[in-house]
Point group: C2
């Protein structure tokens, strides 16, 4: 007997036919005595349709953040009601609970809420009555009971956090891919599905561009130490288990995967005085605007004049705002110029095994070099190495590095 | 300074354009210092669309009543969010509250909930902050916090009950007609709009077929003694005030209005033994099936054999079920036959003034007779007289009676 939380995203519940298929599949897989908690997103295009509707009132409806949450939380409420009916129709007791009814408490930061506390008393009660409990993902309520949505990746976060609070045996995240791969299988033909990966490695993969899981829900899994099973909506094969440590020896690769991210832009601030506080003045201005900065490199331009170049990357989406901020700071610092490069991409390798394994970096650079790919910027973390290259070469780069570390058997 | 509750139905908020128009109109009419509480229904076809969606899971989704409430309550949640955005967009502070957040407590009879208690603390708080408070009609929550819908006429009931709990100065019900008329203006060209009508008379009008207001919300108004102003969504003219007593002398007609109802059917149980308990055995069986019975007449068929005929009417929609029940009882009672007539209609006059005014009935029967209309069954209450006639003659009958009591000036 196990308590399992299963999360299905919007495309898995995009129509009543798909909802019936999800219910049937869950019942087929359910072992006698298993307790099941479903966490579901809004159906397919519902959220987009609701946003369009609000744009009939105001082109920028996100100005009214509390009301957007009031509006958007209806999306999951519709899908939990329908999925619960589907379980009933198939002969199994079930009950739907909004985020609020399931005890998902949040702060009051509307449209980007954070879970602050989970009190799943009602969920336990309904499970004890023999119900499959169908909970609205992506939402909770604040101290006064107002609905709050959790922002990007919110439904995964709901599922993992609820699994943690329920002390569930596992949390299964159903997606349109069947697990976590050693590289994006759309780019690398021989990408390998991993049976297991640690929270730490998965976080690094996600941070560096692997899109399967939002870092936030992996962090939640790490916090509660809940194994997260990433698996396919369409097949019953096992997917990838994200957990604290490996349980199997044969998966013990030095490198776990190759991640890439083409949505980056490079900013170079040239010729700034090399004084204490320069980096701080640039990066604190960006941090205040909530812009994440990555791959920071400082290099000396002219020792005699004591001026330096500051190079870093930001997400492409943040570039327009970042540029404005950096231009202003550069002006104050009497920098020579601010250069922008948008045709760049980041390719990274991730693996806890590279710690104390100095040959790894050399093998990565060698693979790129052999493929004729120039490296612009390099940065490293404890368990990753990233290279900035031209974005036109990203497919070649990922394949070259993958072939180096995951040779065909 | 007044506290006013304004209720707008689904057709008034059927699109974002209409929602903007409602917000603009309310702001135009608002006097400085007025406190406004809006109660709104789901947008136009939303409820029907949600029911259609549920029918994709099960042809009879009302089997899952709790889940239907979970589903349908999203309809008003969408409209309150959009209307609140509209007020914001037009520059006025506003906030939306679900039935639950507004403190509308119900019993747990899903899809047909009854309001049990209203605790509008949050509504008062938000009004005190200068907000227009936009509340979801038709819904509340039960003791465990589950959403419950109020059934037919629920939004009017929400509005009047909330007005009562808030001790509002009045409750305005905006509809597609501009008030309560002395007869249905679609049928009687010279029907007069009433400035005032008492709760009691309005209840009788509603019971006898006048469709403007559901009896339930009028009862709620009577209970809280809240004046209900029935007025048009499309004009700013005053409509009809429903209240405890008249404030004006010139409206003191003996008869307040002519109501009619073509959706009735007659059932006659012929030749049943005239013993104590016969009426009870028929009508208790119907009451157990929640079927309302009207216009009961018992007449003697044969004094020597001591057998009698029992005639009564039911709503057309209840006829199939009522027929089954009556056939069964008639069998047991050894009745001669059960006859059904579906081509009947009921025409009624309503007015507190007819009490102790015996000439009124004679005038009504005379008007029908002059028009060549035969009366099948007559029944009376303290403030109404109803006649059952052939439904083909209903327009003629309503006009003849109206002309008798409301002659053209």
């Amino acid at each position: 007997m196990a308590l399992i939380v299963k999360k299905f995203g919007g495309s898995s519940v995009g129509s009543t036919e798909k909802i019936m298929a999800v219910a049937k599949r869950v019942l087929d897989e359910k072992k006698p005595g298993d307790q099941i908690v479903m966490v579901v997103s809004a159906m397919g295009d519902t959220t987009d349709n609701l946003i369009n509707l609000a744009q009939g009132i105001d082109k920028d409806p996100y100005r009214y953040m509390r009301e957007m949450d009031m509006l958007l939380t209806t999306g999951e409420q519709v899908s939990i009601a329908l999925l619960t009916m589907a379980f009933n129709k198939l002969g199994h007791k079930a009950i739907s609970l909004t985020g609020s009814l399931a005890g998902m408490h949040t702060n009051s930061v509307h449209t980007k809420g954070k879970l602050t506390d989970i009190q799943p008393k009602r969920v336990h009660e309904e499970l004890a009555k023999g119900n499959i409990v169908v909970v609205a993902g992506f939402q909770g309520c604040d101290d006064v009971g107002d609905p709050v949505t959790l922002g990007r990746g919110g439904s995964d976060t709901s599922a993992v956090a609820l699994a943690g609070a329920l002390k569930a045996d596992s949390c299964e995240i159903f997606t349109d891919v069947d697990g976590v791969y050693s590289a994006d299988p759309r780019i690398v033909k021989n990408a390998r599905k991993m049976k297991e990966i640690t929270y730490y490695e998965m976080l690094e993969m996600a941070r560096l561009g692997a899109g399967v899981m939002q870092p936030r829900s992996v962090e939640m899994g790490k916090f509660f130490n809940i194994p997260i099973h990433v698996r396919s909506t369409f097949t019953t094969k096992p997917g990838t288990m994200i957990r604290e440590d490996y349980t199997m020896e044969d998966e013990n690769f030095v490198i776990r995967g190759v991640a890439h991210d083409a949505k980056v832009a490079k900013i170079a601030v040239l010729g700034v005085p090399n004084n204490p506080g320069i980096a701080h003045s640039i990066f604190s201005a960006l941090a205040n605007a909530n812009i994440d900065v990555d791959m920071i490199v400082q290099s000396i331009r002219n020792i005699e004049k004591n001026v330096t170049d500051m190079v870093f990357t930001v997400a492409s989406g943040d570039l327009p705002q970042a540029k404005k901020i950096v231009d202003k700071v550069a002006d104050k610092l009497n920098a020579i110029a601010v250069l922008i490069e948008e045709d760049v991409a980041k390719v990274s390798i991730v693996g806890a095994g590279m710690l104390g394994n100095p040959g790894i970096a050399a093998r990565m650079f060698g693979a790129l070099s052999k493929a004729g790919i120039n490296i612009d910027v390099i940065s490293t973390s404890e368990i990753s190495i990233s290279c900035l290259i031209k974005d036109a070469q990203i497919t070649e780069a990922v394949n070259a590095i993958h072939a180096e570390f995951f040779p065909e058997k």
